[in-house]
Amino acid sequence: MLALQGDFAEHTDVVRRLGAEAIPVRLPQHLPGLHGLIIPGGESTTIVRLLDIFGLRQPILELAQRAAIFGTCAGMILLAKQATDLAQPTLGLIDIVVQRNAFGRQVDSFEAALPFKGLATPVQAVFIRAPLILKAGPAVEVLASLPDGTPVAARQGNILVAAFHPELTADTRVHGYFLGLAQESSRLC
């Protein structure tokens, strides 16, 4: 759990409910041995600054070689190849271009039920000053979209992203999907 800023406690609760272990990551020495990393929702400008100040950028890029990474909202922005309106470079681990605050200000934040690939029934997707995916590369599999076709969740190999916050609902299925990826990555190494 990247625990620099944001709703990492909410993610931790979900992951523990699913029976997995979760530890907070604030410094590079907390990374070894992890099978997965969640970059939570929060303020992307704050998280990316703290990431660089405390030397986590390179170690996370290396971790991505052997572990699964899941980013929600701000986490999706950080994992994207490119983010509009963000001064710092992103981690670039998934071939998508994202737009920050794509839906407007907080009064435009919303929730809606959306179908999610591989899940039998829709997930309740909570969008808070959310980003969206403007462009997805050919290697990217889109997992959920808005009715107008805008992708809002996607996966490329061991990297999973969502513009919304599955950690804010009681539904644990998206995290379950991620833990599956983490297990797969741990088997491969």
């Binding site: 620099l4 406690a9 929060g42 303020e43 704050t46 703290l50 907080q106 919303f110 909570v126 808070i128």
Partner: protein
């Protein structure tokens, strides 16, 4: 697809995204940029910081929309603004401007001494101040989606913030251990809605995010509040009232930026004394501060609201 805007999950959710972060008071777009670059997770747009409101006296009202809009233009992080307690029209105006969060704040002069705003009527979420658990739950019942302990704004003195955070946390700990049949009497004593007290007992915490406010002036102050159980930090005068004895404007801004960055780092690494020691070094003069006992009773902002 049915799109639900302004739902409780969405209102409460933005506060959850701010957790572990620092919300800074700013009065100009330039301040707002300094705050964003220092790593603030949101800014509070004001006409004057609380220390200056204190010094100016008179009636303190909502800021000029012009200032708020310029600050909203200057940064990409969420922008909050304050309205007077009970002044629901100031709240309507701020909501119409597109502000991301409203603070119904005791720092401004109250407009209604009996009633707070009925916050459920708004799409924009509200944060409100509290001194204890009862006050927190009364505000949540009115629709506050985020709480902050009041402290004593504009003093640079952490003592009241500590008092209020300890009061909330120790009452929560007591409630968790109460048998169910004693909850109604506890609710009566606290002046809190019984159903919210049930939620506190079940969750083991306040039902919404709780930040600390009112007196944070140093990184150690921020870490202290985090260790006492705050979900995040509001810094008001502590940043832009620092560095007052610097000789040039540039030096002053440098000193303020150093403190802003250090408070952000301290809020993340609040449990790591080695990092706290490192970031506390050579910050320069913090804001001067006021000893609470030298304030007259009517000068205490925390006693506004109920």
């Amino acid at each position: 697809m049915e799109r639900g805007t302004g739902t409780w999950t969405v209102k409460k959710g933005l506060a959850q995204m701010l957790k572990g972060g620092v919300i800074m008071d700013v009065v100009t777009p330039e301040h707002a940029k300094i705050a964003e670059e220092a790593g603030a997770c949101a800014v509070m747009a004001l006409e004057r910081v609380p220390a200056d409101i204190r010094a100016a006296g008179g009636v303190a009202r909502m800021a000029d929309p012009e200032i708020i809009l310029r600050i909203m233009d200057a940064v990409s992080i969420p922008v909050m603004a304050k309205c007077r307690i009970g002044h629901f029209v100031e709240a309507q105006v701020l909501e119409a401007l597109g502000v991301d969060y409203l603070d119904e704040s005791e720092v401004l002069t109250p407009a209604d001494e009996a009633n707070h705003i009925w916050k459920h009527d708004f799409k924009v979420p509200f944060v409100c101040g509290c001194r204890d658990l009862g006050e927190a739950l009364r505000r949540i019942a009115e629709g506050a989606a985020m709480i902050r302990t009041k402290g004593e704004a504009g003093t640079g003195n952490i003592v009241e913030a500590v008092r209020h955070m300890r009061a909330v946390q120790s009452e929560v700990r007591r409630i968790i251990h109460l048998p169910e049949d004693e909850l109604a009497a506890a609710a009566k004593a606290l002046g809190a809605p019984p159903e919210l007290l049930h939620d506190v007992r079940k969750e083991g915490r306040l039902p919404v995010v709780n930040f600390a406010a009112g007196g944070v002036a140093t990184p150690a102050d921020a870490a202290l509040m985090m260790q006492l159980g705050a979900d995040g930090i509001f810094v008001g005068s502590g940043i832009f009232k620092a560095g007052q004895n610097e000789k040039t404007e540039i030096k002053k801004i440098e000193a303020q930026t150093r403190i802003a960055k250090a408070v952000v780092k301290a809020t993340t690494h609040y449990q790591d004394a080695k990092i706290l020691a490192e970031i506390s070094r050579g910050l320069g003069e913090p804001m001067k501060g006021i000893e609470i006992s030298t304030l007259k009773k009517e000068e205490l902002l925390a006693s506004r609201g109920w």
